[in-house]
Amino acid sequence: MNFTWSDAAYFGPEAVMGLTFLLCVLGDLVTRGRRHVVPFGTLLVGTAISLVLALLHPPVSSHAILGQMVVVDGFAHFFRLLFLGITFVTALLSWSSREIMGRDREHQGEFYALAAMLCFGMMVMAESADIVMLALSLEAVSITSYILAGFARFSFRSSEAALKYVLWGAVSSAVMLYGLSLFYGLTGATSYEGIRAGLSGGQGGMALLVAILFVMAGIGYKISAVPFHFWTPDVYEGAPAPVAAIFASGPKIAGFALMIRFFYVALVQDDSQGTLALLDDVQWPWVLAIISAATMTLGNMAAIRQNSVRRLLAYSSIAHVGYMLMGFVVLSANGLAAVLFYLFVYAIMTIGAFLVVVALNNRVSGEEIDDYAGLGFREPLVAAMMFLFLISLTGLPPTAGFIGKFYLFAAAGEAGLWWLAILGVLNSVVSLYYYMRIARAMYFTPPELSGRVGLAQAHLILLVVLAVPTLVLGVFWSPLKEFADQSLRMLLGGG
């Protein structure tokens, strides 16, 4: 467990984010909570420095640090960049959001401190190679998320969202910890590698089955997969819209990163056929395939009936988890690369769609689909961007969402799961209906009021910034695909 200073070089981006959190709190205290630009600026500068550090030193080989508890490799690098980008963008969109910066002036600075902590936790989640670090990083992200969900302290809906989130989170954390303790009991090891070695004898039986199911339940809650999704719509609806944008992207993606690393390193054995099978006699691919199918179908079916745009987006995010699980089912290099590709694209388009909600929320009180009536006439730019994000979420060309889905469906088909791929396509058709309900309201319903809505300049700029990659990655996607492949190479090669 010796610490060496060379470890610090590998842990640079995370260390900077940890320090950013402390400085944000300190800055908020020194200014007595009156100058929110101090923690906000600290967060932006810290994220930028961390991003530069990460980009300057991309890992060339898999490197275990901090007593083998954290592994820095290409996989970690991919998610580092993604989380730092998400934090940067969501910090910017929160700064102009009335829900975060409007009332309760005393605590706004803390929002940015929490965002820094969340980013730190998510980065460690993607890197942890030990179940102790897994639990710690997961709690760091969860506890920060609970506070963020209840950030609008005097809003009933926000408090309710926070309470629901805490209750769900506490239960699933407990279940997951129990599962992890079973792994430790079975193998006597806390590191993923140790667990893999301990399980390779083939014994385990019922205890192993329970352990895997419990850990899956904990992760399923984090990524809101069926049947652990119930909290999602309520939390996304109740929490302030910028927080919902963070939840729909950050912690969910971190959950995927954690799941891939844990399952791949700790539980998978190479059966020399190119594809990989999980340990134990249970047909895990089937279990995962059924979860995937249930998640996307339920997400889409529930989304059809929603009138609130936020709830609709929440259910759509559940459906997208189902699509992404499709790539995880087969656990092949292609499947995982498709998941990574889709996670990246998903982050951009989901934050984009939520950004429209955030921007409109500053001026318009309602969040029903009907409240978007005539947006195409009043705010042509915003409506066009929203339309772009919606068709990308549906998965229509020429957007990034289409390419992402194509890779996912192809990976499923390649593994012989044609029924799952076809179900995915059918689900996409269903999703077209409810996404287009928003589009119809924007373009085919006459507006009740005329004139511009008058949205924050920063939100308009951010919308364009997010729309560009959504469109560009739809026609020129090979760099991102190569990056995803390359990021996985160390994880897959190193075992």
């Binding site: 610490f3 402390l22 205290l29 007595r32 009332r103 309760d104 005393e106 302290r153 005097f154």
Partner: protein
């Protein structure tokens, strides 16, 4: 395997025996002087029976949280202090600066609590957010004082 649990069994017997013996002895030697308040179950000064929808002073939870700041500090510092000389040989000055950094983080937590005025037992209600508190629907009107101030109730912890 089973014989190893004999220790547990002996422990269980001793535990039960202790309860029985101490109850019997205290029953024999204590004065029998009954009083209604003595008959109630001890529950930290709370009424053991009744509606759970009482307003609890949130300050107790805050105090419990501050306590953790110092509690965690001592949990980590004690083993560190005991093993400090050994660590100095293997880790060098890092052994010292590690703990210095850790204490700095906890000190920041203390500074936060202090600066937000939570170390005062009677926190000033002049701060903006408390004035904005409206009576919640779960509270009856007698629980909430006029002007939306939260009544400081006197439940013991």
């Amino acid at each position: 395997m089973l014989i190893q649990f004999a220790t547990v069994f002996v422990f269980l017997c001793l535990g039960l025996g202790f309860v029985v013996v101490s109850q019997v002895i205290s029953h024999l030697i204590r004065p029998h002087n009954l009083h209604p308040a003595k008959q109630t179950v001890y529950e930290c000064g709370e009424d053991a029976e009744g509606s759970p929808w009482i307003q609890f002073n949130v300050r107790f939870y805050l105090i419990a949280l501050f306590f953790i700041v110092f509690d965690v500090e001592i949990i980590f510092m004690l083993p560190w202090a005991v093993a400090f000389n050994d660590m100095l040989k293997t880790l060098g000055a890092f052994a010292f600066w590690e703990m210095a950094f850790f204490i700095t983080i906890l000190a920041l937590g203390l500074a936060y609590v202090w600066s937000k005025g939570d170390l005062e037992w009677v926190k000033g209600l002049q701060s903006r957010d408390l004035r904005e508190v409206r009576p919640l629907s779960v509270l009856t009107s007698k629980d909430a004082a006029p002007h939306g101030r939260v009544k400081v109730s006197e439940h013991g912890g």
